[in-house]
């Protein structure tokens, strides 16, 4: 069917369409909330996130400590607030690493298709053959146990995702008549790549970005859970769960419950948002 048949002229803007995606909206709002919480945590938390107070250890949620305290009497709410900024930051930097390396690699191999490109994609395939978590664990153990290496590991492991997406996108956009038109005009290949192909691949990359952020946060927290991610006593959510697992039997459920909820809500929001983004950007679902 031709585009022209589409009801067309007064087609709603992208933002309007995104807002129509109610779930994406919810996701976006929750992400913003967490972002806000993370920002606020720089200036204000009810208690210090690492403030030990043995006199108040293992308090159930209540007036003084809304989410209770942990085995060192640290306020869980405060730790959760700081955890938001840590998770968001780690996830964001990790995805940025994947993005900044993956996109150029994918675009290069997709557009120039030569031997080098072929080799790059083979390397990507091999990387993708690794079980993700194992690769991440290996890399971050190899680089030393801290949040930086966890971030780097998640970032590296995410490169093939973006490279392959970009590769496929580039290949498909390259087929468009308008790219051929640019060739006909004599626009240098590099310009075509940068000015025409890259911008036209943005849409799926944005979607992937959102989804990847979710999974990066999840992976980083898995690492912390396994004891590889962050250094104690960083209030990272996964690390908090790992810390708290010994207390679930004695009935101190709040120690494990809230961080888990936080991870789930943040990751879910990124997924919802990415999903909505995809729907809003996809003309076919109109």
């Amino acid at each position: 069917m031709s585009e022209q048949k589409n009801i067309g002229i007064d087609r709603p803007s992208f933002l309007q369409r995104l807002v129509k995606q109610k779930m994406a909206l919810v996701g976006g709002i929750v992400i913003l909330l967490w972002l806000l919480v993370g920002l606020v945590s720089f200036f204000y938390t009810p208690y210090g996130p690492n403030e030990v107070n043995m006199a108040e250890k293992l308090l159930a949620p209540g007036a003084g400590h809304l989410m209770g305290t942990d085995n060192f009497g640290r306020d869980i709410l405060s730790r959760m607030m700081c955890g938001a900024r840590i998770s968001l930051l780690l996830g964001f930097v990790a995805v940025c690493i994947s993005l900044c390396i993956g996109i150029p690699l994918g675009a290069f191999s997709g557009y120039y298709e030569g031997k080098a490109g072929n080799l790059i994609m083979r390397v990507m395939d091999s990387l993708q053959a690794f079980p993700m978590l194992i690769l991440v664990m290996s890399i971050s153990v190899a680089l030393g146990r801290n949040s930086f290496s966890a971030m780097l590991a998640v970032g590296i492991a995410g490169i093939p995702n973006f490279a392959r997406l970009m590769y496929a996108q580039t290949l498909s956009v390259k087929q468009s008549a308008f790219i051929e038109g640019e060739h006909a005009i004599g626009l240098p290949r590099r310009d075509i790549l940068v000015r025409h192909i890259l911008p036209n691949c943005i849409t799926p990359i944005l979607v992937r970005l959102s989804l990847s952020l979710g999974s990066a946060i999840l992976t980083v927290s898995s690492l912390s859970f396994l004891g590889i991610g962050v250094q104690p006593p960083t209030p990272e959510w996964g690390y908090m769960i790992s810390d708290a697992r010994g207390y679930i039997l004695t009935g101190e459920w709040w120690m494990i419950f809230f961080p888990g909820l936080a991870i789930a809500s943040l990751v879910l929001s990124f997924n919802l948002f990415g999903d909505g983004l995809r729907d809003a950007l996809d003309y076919r679902t109109q």
């Binding site: 031709s2 022209q4 067309g8 038109g181 640019e182 006909a184 005009i185 004599g186 911008p199 036209n200």
Partner: protein, 321 residues
């Protein structure tokens, strides 16, 4: 009229590599040893059925797809041998309009941006003001008020988009435009508008067209000469009038007979007598021999040479020797 473009023995083979080591490969002879020419301010129409190599010819002529062999002389200069840098002035002189108006413009760029890019590229010295004027003029030339230039491609209808595609092609003042089925996707009423526009532009800007279509009536309207392609070969070339009155190649005649004419006939059983059976193109000899009612042994074994039967009327068929 002087020669603008002369194509000699142009071939384009596609090899589809299979497997990592490329051990197996299959060759598609999309265009096979064709020769033709286009004069200044002339339109050469190319007809043929789907997959016969029309688009490939168009792209090969512009070196959008590197020809496998053959010469392309543009004003006597073989452009096949030029480097990318040397090719640049020719890119300005030779342009292309595509069939699919939807994907022919970058969806993320406004019409203005799309039009400005080629101009800037080929006239780097141009001032912003001149550029604006030029774009406005272009817009008017293809029948839009200049304010439309701020819009995005998806805000236009198919016919309008096709006109913008044409505007983009002529923005750098080319001499030669390959039109690859520019009206096939359009409704008749819109098609008429676009065809008129193209004819007008040709006259005003002294353009030469290589106009690809599978619609004989469109070809008849726009072309000065007609070339018929079949299975990668150019089987007949003639002046339009000559062609429609006196087509020689059996395939050309089949084509003519097959066009449904908007005339009501009483005896419908009489329809399409001359079409004959339909079969795959023959791989040996004359590709049409598998469908040709007059085919002989010779046709099956030997590819006929292209010969000039009457002045300006070339045909590749053993029947005319």
């Amino acid at each position: 009229m002087s020669r603008l473009l002369e194509v000699k023995n142009l071939s384009k083979f596609y090899t589809s590599k299979q497997g990592f080591f490329g051990a197996k490969s299959e060759t598609v002879k999309a265009v096979n040893q064709i020769s033709f020419h286009v004069d200044e301010q002339e339109t050469l129409g190319i007809v043929g059925e789907s997959g016969c190599g029309k688009s490939t010819t168009g792209r090969a002529v512009l070196r959008l797809h590197e020809p496998t062999e053959g010469e392309i002389l543009y004003r006597g200069k073989d452009i096949c041998k030029l480097s990318l840098e040397e090719m640049k002035p020719y890119r300005q002189k030779m342009q292309i309009v595509f069939q699919n108006a939807n994907s022919a413009l970058d969806p993320r760029w406004t019409v203005e941006q799309s039009l400005a890019e080629p101009i800037r590229l080929h006239y780097p010295q141009i001032s912003q003001k001149e550029l604006d004027e030029r774009i406005d003029r272009l817009m008017e030339e293809v029948g839009f008020a200049p304010m439309y230039k701020k819009k995005y491609p998806h805000e236009f209808s198919g016919g309008q988009r096709q006109r913008i595609g044409i505007a983009k092609a002529i923005s750098v003042s080319p001499e030669f435009v390959v039109c690859d089925e520019p009206v096939s996707a359009l409704d008749v009423s819109v098609q008429a508008q676009v065809l008129n526009l193209m004819k007008k532009l040709q006259r005003e800007r002294k353009l030469s067209y290589m106009f690809i279509s599978h619609d004989l009536s469109v070809i008849r309207f726009i072309s000065d000469r007609v070339g018929v392609m079949y299975a990668g070969r150019l089987v007949e070339v003639a002046e339009t009038k000559e062609f429609f009155e006196n087509a020689l190649h059996p395939y050309s005649r089949v084509l003519m007979a097959a066009v449904p004419k908007p005339v009501v006939m009483d005896d419908k059983d009489e329809l399409y007598r001359g079409i004959g059976k339909i079969a795959k193109a023959s791989r040996e000899g004359c590709p049409f021999c598998s469908r040709c009612a007059q085919a002989t042994e010779r046709c099956r074994g030997e590819m006929p040479e292209q010969r000039e039967v009457t002045e300006g009327h070339f045909v590749s068929c053993h029947l005319y020797e």
